[in-house]
Structure formats: C-alpha cells, structure tokens
Subunit: 147 residues, 2 copies
DNA sequence: ACGATATAGTTTGATATCGAATTACAAGGA
DNA sequence: TCCTTGTAATTCGATATCAAACTATATCGT
C-alpha cells in the first residue's frame, strides 16, 4: 500500500522546511535563527508594539515557544519589553534600532539564496503553489483549534 | 516592500510542517514522534536492514540526529542494532515485530486526520501540488550538498 | 465583595535538530 | 609497517518546539 498522497505531501513539506531552515541559518549573520528573524521581520513589516501572545498567534507557535524566542532576542538587544500599564499580566514588545539593522543585514544575507530559488524553480511556480499552501495551513490551524 | 513569493511559500511551508507535526504527534500512541514513525514506516515499506548513515541520507537529517532517533527507538524495543561483521565502524539496523506493530497502530491512529485532509482540500489538489514540492525539495538538497 | 474561572506569561522536561569536536576503524601511500 | 586521510557513529552545546504545571493578574457571577 502506497502512502496516501496527503502523507507524501506532508513528508515533502517536512523535508523542505528542514532544508530551507538550515540553508537560511547558515547564511545568517549575528547567529540569528529563522524564528528570531521572523519576529524581527514581522515588526519591520507591520510596525508598532505587540504582546507576546499576539506574536505567538501570528507565528502559530505556543506562548512557551514565543517566551523562549523573545528572551533570546532581548539578550541580543534586538527587542525591548515594557510592562503594560493597563494589564499587570501583560507586556508590550517592540523592535529596537539594533534589531532593525540586524533584520536588514539578514535580508541581504539571504537574498542570494532567494534569487537562486526564483531562477531554478521559477517565480510563476511559487505563485501557483501559494493558494494551495495557504488553504492547507488554514485547514490545519482550524483543526488545531478544535482539538 | 512585500516579502518575495519564495519567502512567503517557505513561510507557509514552515507553519504547515509545524501544525502537521503537532497534529500527528497528538494522535500517536506509544509516545511515538513523527521522526520515529518515519523511520519505522521506512522499514515496513522497504524491508531489510539499513545503516544509520543510509537512514540519515534517506530522511535528509544529519547522522547526529539519526543517532538520537535510533537510540529512542531502540529504547522502546522498536528496532534492533547489530554490529556489521565486515566493517567495525558500522551497524545494521532493522525493525522488530514490536516496531512493526507500533507502526501499524500509528497508521490507524492518523488515518482519521488524513481522511479529513483529503475531504477538506481534495485529493486532486494534493496530487497537483506534489510535483512542485518534489522539485523544490530536490533543489534545496542539491544546494545543500554544494555548500 | 468574594469565590470561581479565564487569561498572560514563565518554567520544566522531553524530543528534534544542527554544527563541531571526538572516537574508532578502514584504506591508501611511501 | 606506519602515517595520513577518509568514513561511521557518537557526544556536546545550542536553539526550537510542545504539553503540562505553575504564578500572577483580571474578569465574571452571585
């Protein structure tokens, strides 16, 4: 019995994620990891402040995971955290100037790999694949929240 | 500036991998993890014996990672390891009867989630997405081996 | 007002993963 | 034979991740 096609797709996705993450982190300066970059990029793209909880939701990770990533970013001086004036349980996270610089260096560092991907696979193929991936991600997210 | 489409695709793939792995491991009996299942499934599908090195190549992980996963599978009695008679550095790994049973229970445990995926997304969409994913995986694998 | 419940964040313990260093053995060359 | 180089596997230290347990604060119901 062959593996169901959904299983084969998930398997390929797992390997791609693994290889892609390794490629990214090898190219990074500042010892920046992919999850750390994604947080910095989120702040540069959308601006403002966020709670750890909102970041965890946006990145689809648990709050525990986000706590860990934010602690490492704070240790590098790439983010700041201030207590929320209206809710004693909460925090406001923002990117620092140092963090913005690190994010921009990261963009530069990965641009060569991204270009190679566009050349080899074709930008059109990425565009074509995106709707399926979004639909699959939304399905899995819904299913997670059901239990 | 929007993120390049290849970056958005890699980002979706990362989230899908994360959500899919969590869904899988929640459904698993025997505390089986996804990497552990993949090794067992490999043996059931293809039979025979393998070296840790060959398994690491097949799963696209480092030998260090495979050492760790094999140690946990051996601790559960799901695989056996015997020294190679002709090469003192090497080992021969095989699945045990207990391992085969665990793999079959795992298949059962995940079948409901897989069915839901096929129903929601459509089997045809998975078939259509597979060639792109294979191409992307092969590109990243080649690129890794170049450095 | 108070007790029950919910929410924000952290901590802990486990697994996976990488790269780098290490150990043990193999193969080849002088 | 011995030395160098190569290969198989493991160990180590770091990061990410989850679930579960925990702390602290907020909100809701009576």
């Amino acid at each position: 019995m062959p593996d169901p096609v959904a299983f084969r797709v998930m398997n390929e996705i797992g390997i791609i994620d693994q290889l892609g993450t390794t490629m990214f982190e090898r190219a990074m300066p500042d010892g920046l990891t992919l999850p750390q970059f994604i947080v910095l990029n989120h702040f540069v793209r959308l601006g403002g402040e966020r709670t750890p909880n909102a970041l965890a939701d946006a990145m689809q990770v648990t709050r525990a995971t986000m706590t860990s990533t934010l602690q490492r970013l704070a240790a590098k001086g790439f983010i700041s955290a201030t207590p929320d004036a209206h809710d004693g349980r909460s925090k406001r996270i923002a990117i620092t100037a140092l963090g913005t610089e690190a994010r921009n260096r990261a963009i530069q560092a990965i641009s060569h790999d991204l270009s190679a991907m566009h050349e080899d696979i074709g930008t059109a193929a990425f565009e074509a694949a995106l709707p399926f991936l979004v639909q699959l991600r939304i399905f899995l997210d819904k299913r997670r929240n059901l239990g």
